[in-house]
C-alpha cells in the first residue's frame, strides 16, 4: 500500500516545519538578548530543508538538513548606560529581523496545516479502501 507512505511524507514535513517554528520561537524570544552564556551576542538561527526519498518509494519527504546561524551583521544600539556598551556607547544587539521571523512563523504554521490535511485525506482514502466489497 503506497498510501501508507503518505503518512511518512506528511509526517516528515510536519516535524521539519515544527523544527522551523521552534527556530522562529527561539529567534523571537532572543530578539533582545545582548549577551549569552558564552558572552557573545545571540545570532538568529535558520533551518535548511532538504528533500529525502522515503523508504525506496517514489515519495519524497523532508528533513532538516542543518541549522545555520544568520551571518548578517548585528544591530548596533546606542545605550551608553548599558554595562555592555563599547567605548562609543553602542551595544551589539542580535541580528534577528522580527518581520522576517513573523513571516517565517506564518509560513511554517500554514505548511504544517496543509500537511495535516494531506494526512487526513490519505487516512480517509485508506479507510474507504478497507470497505471494498462491503
Amino acid at each position: 500500500m503506497s498510501l501508507f507512505s503518505i503518512f511518512n511524507v506528511a509526517g516528515s514535513a510536519m516535524s521539519a516545519q515544527a523544527q522551523r517554528l521552534n527556530a522562529v520561537a527561539s529567534n523571537l524570544a532572543n530578539a533582545d538578548s545582548a549577551t549569552s552564556s558564552t558572552g557573545e551576542v545571540y545570532k538568529a538561527k535558520q533551518v535548511v530543508f532538504s528533500a529525502v526519498p522515503v523508504n525506496g518509494a517514489v515519495a519524497t519527504g523532508v528533513k532538516v538538513d542543518r541549522v545555520v546561524e544568520d551571518q548578517s551583521p548585528p544591530r548596533m544600539m546606542y545605550d551608553p548606560k548599558s554595562p555592555l556598551a563599547d567605548a562609543k556607547g553602542y551595544v551589539t544587539m542580535p541580528n534577528v529581523n522580527v518581520v522576517e521571523e513573523m513571516v517565517n512563523m506564518i509560513s511554517a504554521s500554514r505548511s504544517y496545516q496543509t500537511n495535516v490535511e494531506t494526512m487526513n485525506a490519505a487516512k480517509s482514502m485508506l479507510q474507504k479502501t478497507l470497505t471494498i466489497g462491503q
Binding site: S2, L3, G56, A57, T60, S107, T114, T118, I132, G133
Partner: protein, 127 residues
C-alpha cells in the same frame, strides 16, 4: 477488474507524488513532479504481466525496486513552472492542492466502481 486495479494502483502512486510535492513546498531547489495519468493507465493496460509500477526482474539476484522513471510507460515529469521563486522551488500550492483533491476523488470513484463490480459478481453467484 484488472483495469480498475491498475487505475487504483496508479492513483495511489500519483497521490503519493502530489503529497511529496506538498510536503516539499518549502524545500529549496525542489522541483514538483507528476506523471501523465492517461498515458500511464494505457501503458499499464498494455503490459499484461505484473503490477504496473514494478520493475521486471530477469535474475533472482535483482532487487525489487520501484521504477522511478516510468509508471506503466509514462515518464515521471517535472511540472511546468507557473511562477518561479528565488530559492528554485517549483511547487505551486494551488495546483498541487487542486490535483490532490481531484486525484483523491477519482481514487474514491474507482473504489466505488470496484465495490459495484464485486457486488454484481456476488449477485450473480448467489442468484
Amino acid at each position: 477488474m484488472q483495469f480498475l486495479e491498475d487505475a487504483l494502483q496508479l492513483r495511489e502512486q500519483r497521490q503519493q507524488l502530489i503529497a511529496s510535492n506538498i510536503a516539499n513546498a518549502d524545500t529549496p531547489n525542489y522541483k514538483a513532479r507528476d506523471f501523465d495519468f492517461k498515458k500511464a493507465l494505457q501503458g499499464a493496460l498494455a503490459q499484461n504481466s505484473g503490477s504496473p509500477t514494478e520493475l521486471t526482474k530477469t535474475a533472482a539476484a535483482h532487487l525489487p525496486g520501484v521504477n522511478e522513471t516510468s509508471f506503466g510507460g509514462a515518464a515521471l515529469q517535472y511540472r511546468t513552472v507557473q511562477q518561479g521563486s528565488v530559492d528554485g522551488n517549483t511547487v505551486d500550492m494551488d495546483t498541487e492542492r487542486n490535483q490532490f483533491a481531484d486525484n483523491a476523488l477519482r481514487y474514491e470513484a474507482s473504489l466505488t466502481m470496484i465495490s459495484g463490480h464485486i457486488k454484481s459478481l456476488l449477485a450473480a453467484i448467489q442468484g
